[in-house]
Symmetry: C2
C-alpha cells in the first residue's frame, strides 16, 4: 500500500512523530517501506536508522515505545505523520521531545 | 548561527511547521541556511523549494503566510520545527494541513 509514496533516492521518507494526547511534535526520523509496513502490522512506530542502516523499533531497548494511533501521508506523498501514544521520553537524551532547543522563542505575532 | 546544523548533501534540512494555536502539524518542507536566516530575519516562514531550486516564502503568492513564533532544532541537529501562526490554509490544495490522508486512523491503543 506504500507503492505510491515518494521515497528518496535511498528509499526513505521522513516521518514526523506527534503525541496524540499532548499534540507535541516529538521527533523526526526516517522510514523505508518495510518500516512503514511493520508500523502498520505491529502498531508500534518503526523507523529506519540511517546511521546503523537497519530497521529500528522505537523503544525496543529503552522501553520508550510509541503505539501508533494513526498514520497520515502529506499532499505530495513525500512525508508521513505518525500520531502516537508515547511511553516515557521520546528523545534518546531523556527529553520528552527531541525538539528542545529554541533558536528563537516567544516572538510576538500580531 | 546555523553553522552547526547538519544539512544534507544538498545543503538542506527538513522543517516541520506546526500551528502554534491548534498544535496541528501543517506541513513538512525543506530549508537551506539562507532560508532559515530569512525566517529569523523576517519572521515569516521561509523554505527552499527542491523542485524549483529556489528560496520560497510560504504564502508569498497565496497570502497564506506563516508568522513564526518560535524555531526549534532537534537533538541531533538535523531537523527543525517552526511554530507558526498560520493565515488561511497551509496546504496548496486548500486544506488546512498537508497531512490529510489517513493510511490508518483511530487505532485503539490500550
Amino acid at each position: 500500500m506504500f507503492d505510491d509514496l515518494r521515497f528518496n533516492e535511498a528509499g526513505l521518507i521522513p516521518v514526523v512523530a506527534q503525541d496524540a494526547s499532548t499534540q507535541a511534535v516529538l521527533m523526526l526520523a526516517w522510514a523505508d517501506k518495510a518500516a512503514l509496513e511493520a508500523t502498520l502490522r505491529t502498531g508500534f512506530a518503526t523507523y529506519f536508522s540511517r546511521e546503523r542502516q537497519q530497521q529500528w523499533v522505537k523503544g525496543e531497548t529503552s522501553g520508550h515505545t510509541q503505539q501508533v494511533r494513526a498514520v497520515y501521508v502529506d499532499c505530495d506523498r513525500d512525508a508521513v505523520l505518525y500520531l502516537v501514544h508515547q511511553t516515557g521520553a521520546a528523545c534518546h537524551t531523556g527529553s520528552y521531545s527531541c525538539f528542545q532547543e529554541a533558536l528563537i522563542a516567544d516572538r510576538v505575532v500580531n
